[in-house]
């Protein structure tokens, strides 16, 4: 039995990477076909525009500036995807990242605009709010056996309506949007530490970007290197075995959801405390950021390091969608493509199984021929 014949393809990480690239390719291809159907004339150009994103600008300064804008939105997406993959590793599907993100936004904006607190306290508030909401799902799961997907869905909507109501108190009179940070409470804006300067004075690029990458690394260390990670993953893989060997599986469940919630909540603060966006108090749908986090988590092969890249990619094409020719296509074509990619991620498991089966068969044939 020679297993080292195809070590590269057998490697789990390589398989994940291949699967993700395949998802992206098929997703883009289907997106391209959709564009062709809508208007064949500009389809090729449009798909290129989406993939190029900020590169459509010819001047380097403009490119840098809009790369910055992409990064600003990548940070929260990365946090949401970390939230989802962390919970997933512990056997929980945190579809509630969306809701945790919403309460995070509510908490940090209210602390900033209503209470005029400095940025670090606002950030803390968002983290706490997210953790709290996550813990609610965790408690419901641990103590009342409520499926976390269901409780998270309910909490998503409860959060949305609550936050809308809360933030109506700090909203501009003439619009459905909250006050801008810069005019009302500049002390709540995340410090830039000169990062903005690197991106052609893009004031929205703040410490949020490096912070999110650090968070990804920390999540990786926590999961792979520590006793806590060992316990949490054991609980996720087999909660009965975890209980059998004396781990406190209920505590672990709640802790996991709280950490996942904290990550998502922090993600919201990383966007809204830059002043890049205002909250719209009449929103009738839960923001897609949390759901896109699912895409990023799965596209990143459920690895924290992988999701740094996948989050960037998804944000990259989403921003790219804004540049397509509006007289022919709509910006939602990017949402369409990223939704397709999430859907395709469902097939990754099958892809890996099929690939392994194929490799086995090939090895067997080779082995047979050699004898």
């Amino acid at each position: 039995m020679k297993k080292e014949k195809s070590p590269l393809l057998r490697n789990g990480a390589v398989q994940s990477l291949l699967a993700s690239l395949l998802c992206i390719l098929i997703g883009l291809l289907l997106g391209y076909i959709a564009l062709l159907l809508i208007n064949p004339a500009g389809a090729g150009e449009a798909i290129l525009t989406i993939v190029k994103n900020f590169m459509t600008y010819s001047r380097t300064t403009a490119q840098l500036k809009y790369l910055g804008s992409t990064l600003v939105k990548t940070a929260p997406l990365l946090m949401c995807s970390l939230s989802i993959l962390f919970a997933y590793k512990v056997g929980l599907f945190n579809i509630g990242a969306a809701g945790q993100y919403v309460v995070g936004a509510g908490a940090c904006l209210y602390c900033a605009l209503g209470l005029h607190l400095p940025w670090y306290l606002c950030l803390m508030a968002a983290v706490l709010a997210g953790a709290l909401l996550g813990a609610v799902s965790g408690v419901l799961k641990a103590c009342c056996n409520v499926n976390e997907v269901i409780s998270c869905i309910m909490l998503n909507w409860i959060s949305l309506y609550s936050v809308n109501t809360l933030l109506t108190k700090v909203k501009e009179e003439t619009s459905p949007y909250t006050y801008t940070l810069s005019s009302t409470s500049p002390e709540a804006i995340l410090p830039s530490l000169g990062l903005g300067g690197l991106f052609s004075k893009n004031q929205y690029v703040t410490i949020a970007v490096p912070l999110s990458v650090i968070a990804a690394v920390l999540v990786w260390v926590l999961l792979e290197k520590t006793k806590l990670g060992y316990e949490l993953k054991a609980t996720g893989c087999n909660k009965f075995a975890a209980k059998y060997c004396g781990m406190r599986e209920k505590k672990n469940l709640i802790l996991t959801m709280a950490i996942a919630g904290a990550l998502a909540g922090m993600g919201a603060a990383m966007l809204f405390l830059t002043g890049f966006e205002q909250w719209q108090c009449t929103q009738s749908a839960v923001p897609a950021m949390g759901f896109n986090g699912i895409a990023a988590a799965f596209l990143g092969g459920l690895s924290p390091i992988g999701s740094i890249f996948s989050s960037y990619f998804i944000q990259h094409i989403t921003n790219g969608g804004a540049y397509v020719d509006k007289t022919m296509y709509s910006a939602q074509i990017s949402d369409f493509i990223s939704a397709l990619i999430i859907y395709l991620c469902g097939f990754v498991l099958f892809f890996k199984v099929a690939l392994n089966r194929w490799l086995n068969r090939r090895d067997e044939k080779k082995g047979g021929g050699g004898k």
Partner: protein
């Protein structure tokens, strides 16, 4: 008061239809989180039919064709779930979530493209159906009776009968409870799961068109269906996967929603000065609380969410 009743019944009809759809899917063993997306697609199908049928179409033909369009598109869309969950053993929660995002995105892209093609300056994602919509409504005094209410009632009866009185229902539920047992007596689990998902697509799509014609005469597809698919999921669980209980749950949740729309008409409620959001939240809070108390002995189909693999037994 009549307005409250009217809203309650129409919202309850939507929830009932979609929740029954979810019920079929789950009884076959497939969790359908993607109901929201299916509703959007059904709504799109119906809305397009209303837009393109001439105003002179008779009410009956209009109803039949619109329903047909919604049902067909809903079923077609639900195939995405069936293929992934049954043949490819994908994570059903993941696929369902993707379908919700995809539904809204695809509908928006499509409607915008269509609007832009008609008029270059029109980049909205709205479809209007002011006149066509009249076909569904019969005025009984002050009460606007909607044919869809009758349809929902029929769906309820049909679901009850087919689940509990027919061969199909027995086999479907066996697949959701113990697919190995079903397989061992020669029932094709894959086929039954396809059937379950397709029925959920049918009823979900129908629910979609009912939702966007309830109260308004145009729909902006960027908004999706504002969480009604998820609410229907709550209705289904609240109803413990049983059609009759689902109907009661739908009425209760419909009442809450209706209250959110018309509470300003009641002096008593108005004097409470609660924001509308409270009424919108109410169904979710109720179901969460009920879930907390009832989940220890939930009657959810035992094998739901677990891909069935013929090789594994």
């Amino acid at each position: 008061m009549i307005l409250l009743l009217q809203y309650m019944l129409i919202f309850a009809s939507v929830l009932l239809l979609v929740a029954l759809g979810g019920c079929f899917s789950e009884h076959s063993g497939v969790i359908n989180i993607g109901l929201e997306g299916i509703m959007v697609m059904g709504a799109l199908g119906g809305a397009l039919m209303m837009k393109f049928l001439p105003d002179s179409t008779s009410a009956f033909v209009m109803i039949v064709l619109v329903v047909l369009a919604a049902v067909l598109l809903g079923m077609l869309y639900s195939l995405l779930l069936a293929v992934a969950a049954v043949n490819f053993k994908a994570d059903q929660t993941l696929v369902g979530t993707a379908m919700n995002l995809l539904g809204t995105a695809a509908a928006t892209v499509f409607v915008k493209a269509m609007n832009t093609a008609e008029n270059v300056d029109n980049v909205s994602s709205t479809i209007q159906y002011i006149n066509a919509k009249k076909a569904f409504i019969v005025n009984l005094g002050g009460f606007e009776f909607n044919w869809f209410m009758l349809l929902a009632l029929l769906a309820l009866i049909g679901s009850y009968v087919s689940l509990y009185k027919t061969r199909f229902g027995l086999r479907l539920m066996a697949c959701g409870e113990h697919p190995q047992a079903a397989d061992s007596v020669g029932i094709n689990v894959y086929k039954m799961r396809y059937a379950g998902v397709l029925i959920s697509g049918m009823l979900g799509g129908l629910g979609g068109i009912v939702y966007i014609t309830a109260g308004v005469s145009e729909w902006k597809f960027e908004n999706g269906v504002a969480g009604f698919g998820f609410l229907a999921l709550a209705v289904m669980i609240f109803g413990q996967w049983k059609p009759t209980r689902i109907a009661l749950a739908a009425l209760l949740f419909g009442f809450c929603r209706a209250l959110g729309n018309v509470y300003t008409g009641f002096d008593f409620l108005k004097s409470l000065e609660l924001p509308a959001a409270v009424y919108n939240m109410l169904p979710y809070i109720i179901s969460l609380v009920v879930l907390a108390f009832t989940s220890q002995k939930s009657r959810a189909p035992k094998a739901e969410g677990i891909p069935y693999d013929k090789g594994q037994r």
